[in-house]
Subunit: 187 residues, 4 copies
Amino acid sequence: MNAVGQEPKASRTQTALRGALLALLEEKPFEQVTVRDITARANVGYATFFRRYPDKEALLHDVAAREIGQLLAMTLPILFTVDSRASTQALCAYLWEHRKLWSALLTGGAAATLKHEFVRLAQEQAAMSRRQHAWLPGDLGVVFSVSATVEILAWWLSQAEPPSVVEMAEILDRLVVTPSLATKPPV
Amino acid sequence: MNAVGQEPKASRTQTALRGALLALLEEKPFEQVTVRDITARANVGYATFFRRYPDKEALLHDVAAREIGQLLAMTLPILFTVDSRASTQALCAYLWEHRKLWSALLTGGAAATLKHEFVRLAQEQAAMSRRQHAWLPGDLGVVFSVSATVEILAWWLSQAEPPSVVEMAEILDRLVVTPSLATKPPV
Amino acid sequence: MNAVGQEPKASRTQTALRGALLALLEEKPFEQVTVRDITARANVGYATFFRRYPDKEALLHDVAAREIGQLLAMTLPILFTVDSRASTQALCAYLWEHRKLWSALLTGGAAATLKHEFVRLAQEQAAMSRRQHAWLPGDLGVVFSVSATVEILAWWLSQAEPPSVVEMAEILDRLVVTPSLATKPPV
Amino acid sequence: MNAVGQEPKASRTQTALRGALLALLEEKPFEQVTVRDITARANVGYATFFRRYPDKEALLHDVAAREIGQLLAMTLPILFTVDSRASTQALCAYLWEHRKLWSALLTGGAAATLKHEFVRLAQEQAAMSRRQHAWLPGDLGVVFSVSATVEILAWWLSQAEPPSVVEMAEILDRLVVTPSLATKPPV
DNA sequence: CTCTAATCGAGACGGTACGTCGCGTCTTACG
DNA sequence: CGTAAGACGCGACGTACCGTCTCGATTAGAG
């Protein structure tokens, strides 16, 4: 029976903060985004920020986790699917659609946090359906896959004349997916 | 050629600053190292710092370039050598020797700069002896190789029970070298 | 007339707030007492405070007026009594009994408000039975008497080895009462 | 050889801060003066304030001590002079000249600090030339004299139609000087 | 005895000032 | 001269408290 805000106020604040950060990240790199910027954009009191998050970093973590959450549904299956090429294409297509946002997330000061969060979530997922290789420690596999993928995609999104989705999917497949799945040296 | 200790004073200051930064990086992450820390450790006036470097970042770049310089002589040939396995082993062995330093460089806030500098230098090198693949844009190849290598090595140095040099060399070879050299899909 | 504990709830809240402030004033100076302290101590909701008083100051005024009310019955007659010495002794004795409370009231940030309220009430009283001296404007007389008295008593209550009630009465008499009553220069 | 500022910069900052506070005190009560107000008025960086003074209060203390310093040369001799009336007149005259400043100092939130500083300085002075009365502890004498004087003068400066300097001098003399000097009860 | 309205607790919120910290510039004094 | 020492302007940070507000639970009085 929430006629006005349709949502408990407390969480509206958080939503506003996350939205503000996302908006600002498309304007300038994370390190240059000030807490005041965020609260101003979110129409929220400065001090209120610290009631929700201890840090600017903490908000970024939250934002990252959520954005990655959506992406991860497409990213992780890649490594365990029969048709890996289809998966990488889906991933690239998704990224391309949200090009601007992800460009911001994977570039500048936010990238490190993003990647870290990415790895963390990927580790969790991987813990369940683990395919162990003798030569490749499980978590290194995850670290490599995620890092390389992120790096490749970051490169992609920052190009003036970027390759097509299909081309990137092939590159991803050959540079990341195939190597991490290989069970024995390719001679 | 100056005798030891008699090199021009200006460069002695720079040496001291670089040394101080390296020492501090082994104590705390780069973002937490302040210019005052550095100058204090280097026994150099605070203002003097800014006569040598515009920035804390600039010093890091300098330090990074030098440390990488040594490493790069071993890293780059890997991709263009006949016996890649030997090269990766050499790389890992070198890193292992200077484990503490590189652990600091590849972890924390310095990592981004380090990797960036790494890529920059690698691009330069690669510009000369370019092996173009149709499916892999040249600079993406470099970005991927370097990033993945750095990430894998960073993982290695941060492990409690790290794999041996030989094992890491094999991993590197299979995850990074082989894929970037492949000319056609591995079927 | 309500039995104890059955008085109207609204005024029970006020009583609790006044009590809480008095208690807190014995622990720390007024400026360091926060509204949250008070409401917590009074077992009253934070917002409720502002339903009763516009201000922290307003509560202090209320508290002050009441405490002074009791005291004033003894303070004011001093100046208009035949046996002033007896009156000053009564005043000092009363203060001594409630030493701890008045020590808190007359020291620290509350003192100014206290004195102000004191003067205000004294002015009211004095307006009725005014003895005008040519050389001493009426309200200055009040200001002087009250301020000096307060100051002297504050000094007394803060001493490690305070003079006796009788001694203080004499001092008060000679420093405050006699001079303000004098009608002509004492030669 | 200070061509420009004619004064070491460090002390110029302090001077500017003191000046700014004095100026602001004539515009609004001390509690409403913000550190930012002060630094803005003094053309000084905000943080610089805290390099000089730990507190807004500390600056007030400094200002107070200096202003009182000048005044005290006239205030203290009053009690130990043969011709006390001349001294009180000098005091009142001085105050009247700097009416606006002292009005600000003796009114509002600054008053407490002012009086405290006043007493402190007076105690120091009094420690040297102590005339002990049996009935009046030395420091109470000082506290009373100073407090009463301050209070009387504060009243004076806040009047719409203030008495003349001569009248105030007489009042001061009869209310403060004579009583504190008396050696035996005036019968 | 119920139902509506006032009142309360709890505490989130916008806002203002605080005091701290680090950067990069600038001044001063010294060797 | 050039350097050490460090003051300074700047601007973000995170904290504290204020006074306003919303919200749900409690309670009182009207029906």
